[in-house]
Amino acid sequence: MHQFSQQIFSGFAAGAIYASLALALVMIYRATELVNFAQGEMAMFSAYIAWSLVNGGVSFWAAFVITLVVSFLGGMAIERVIIRPVENAPVLAAVVVTIGLALIFNSLAGWIYSYTVQDFQSPFPDRPVLGALITTRDLGVIGVTLVMLFLLFAFFRFTATGLAMRAAAQNPASARLCGIPVGRMLAIGWGLAAAIGAAAGVMVAPVLFLDPNMMGGVLVYAFAGALLGGITSPVGAVIGGLIVGVTENLVGTYLIASQLKLTVAFALIILVLVFKPHGLFGTAIVRRV
């Protein structure tokens, strides 16, 4: 029983990472109806930036903040330069562009930083607490995720820019008539998503060890989590991510055929989706004829 609770809690920690990346995916999807398949690789690249800063003598939290800012600006630049040309093109063209972008980031990271697995020290010590149910490191990860979530929620709910972004995502034509620069809102959206992804990458690097292929599996689970929650719901993304994390952990622990972990985990998630094809909190797109 104790092991079961332990697995649930450490599943929450993994789930918090999936939740963060899922949140980034949902943000971009709400604004552009596009799944950014490069989100994971962008997060990985950000983690490398943080690692370089820490190696260069910068304190962890300073490096963290700098990385978030750089990632925000990078995300904005990517939207303006890389995504803008295919914004009005067929969806598949934009999907292929994000896939290409993922390949570019992955390859560049390997080239600049080599494929040797690197050590990344977590700022949180790895001590067990709560009767060995969870470690302080895992708590730290969950804490950072929650803080980010809260800040994001406040931004969208209480600031003028946040409201303008929501409007631009829902109805770009009307937003323009209100004088809202929709293009800039999109860029800010991508910037925020990149920053959230960066935080996820920095949190995961100590756990999975830093290498260019670190985020591939994370992206896949984050994608599943985002869809499980409902691709248009930020709250759903977080809950979905947490559920996926716990499921993955439990399956990994209790499944005899451990080579089939990914298969079984996904099968379970899809089973839920069969009953709720738009996710737990997603709304069906009502098509008016």
Binding site: A164, A167, N171, A173, R176, L177, C178, G179
Partner: protein, 235 residues
């Protein structure tokens, strides 16, 4: 009084097709001008050209500034508020949020403006925290107009405000629009299919047919013209 809006030889295009063929239209400052015509005449296209959402050629002058080379957002920031066909409300946001968005281009807190809007449209005050999508058609139209006014615009562009609404609601809305025009000192350019009502309120009118102006003059003159009465007013 100098015209606040001047369209000179305006052409508008949907893709490759030219839909509006060289219009000359003027809106007097502080006045209400209405564009009349049947479906597909090009009236809505003209409004879209003014706001930069369709390709156009020719001159669009607004208080001395050329609009025809600007983006929609820039045109809005200059003080042109467009209430589009179909209202264009943000149905996923609350009434209050819709109003706040209208004030996006204005510095300072929008609260005073919002109170004034609630004064014109008390029903919106009652529903301020409701999702805009749950409002009735008439209420959404009021919300769309209020949102446009939050910009403190110099020119209010209304596209078919009576569309899909019951006659009593239309009368109410038009009464409020007339009141707003006087009290807010805003010029109004309106496209309407309900010619009778529009001609009662407007100062000037243009009759548009398949992309050309076929008649223009004071609203009274057009309303008295027997040919126009027969074709468009039904008597």
């Amino acid at each position: 009084m100098a015209p606040i809006l001047q369209l000179r030889a305006l052409k508008a295009f949907y893709g490759q097709s030219e839909v509006v063929h060289g219009l000359d239209v003027e809106v007097e400052e502080g006045g209400m001008t209405v564009l009349l015509g049947a479906n597909g005449a090009g009236k809505t296209t003209t409004l879209r050209a003014i706001c930069g959402t369709v390709r156009n050629e020719g001159e669009i002058l607004f208080a001395g500034e050329r609009l025809d080379r600007r983006t929609t957002e820039q045109i809005a920031a200059l003080g042109v508020a467009h209430v589009p066909e179909g209202r264009g409300t943000f149905i996923g946001l609350t009434v209050e949020e819709n109003l706040r968005l209208g004030a996006y281009t204005r510095a300072g807190r929008p609260d005073a403006n919002m109170q004034r809007m609630y004064g014109y449209f008390p029903i919106l005050a009652a529903r301020r925290r409701q999702q805009a999508g749950s409002l009735s058609g008439g209420e959404q139209q009021m919300l769309a107009i209020a949102r446009a006014l939050m910009m403190a615009p110099r020119l209010l562009v209304l596209d078919e405000p009576s569309f899909g609404l019951a006659p009593q609601i239309v009368e109410d809305i038009f009464t409020i629009v007339e009141r707003i025009r006087r009290e807010e000192h805003v010029s109004v350019l309106m496209v309407e299919q309900n010619a009778t009502l529009a001609l009662e309120l407007a100062d000037h009118a243009y009759l548009i047919e398949t992309g050309y102006v076929v008649a223009s003059g004071s609203a009274k003159a057009l309303a008295d013209d027997p040919q126009i009465r027969r074709s468009y007013l039904g008597y």
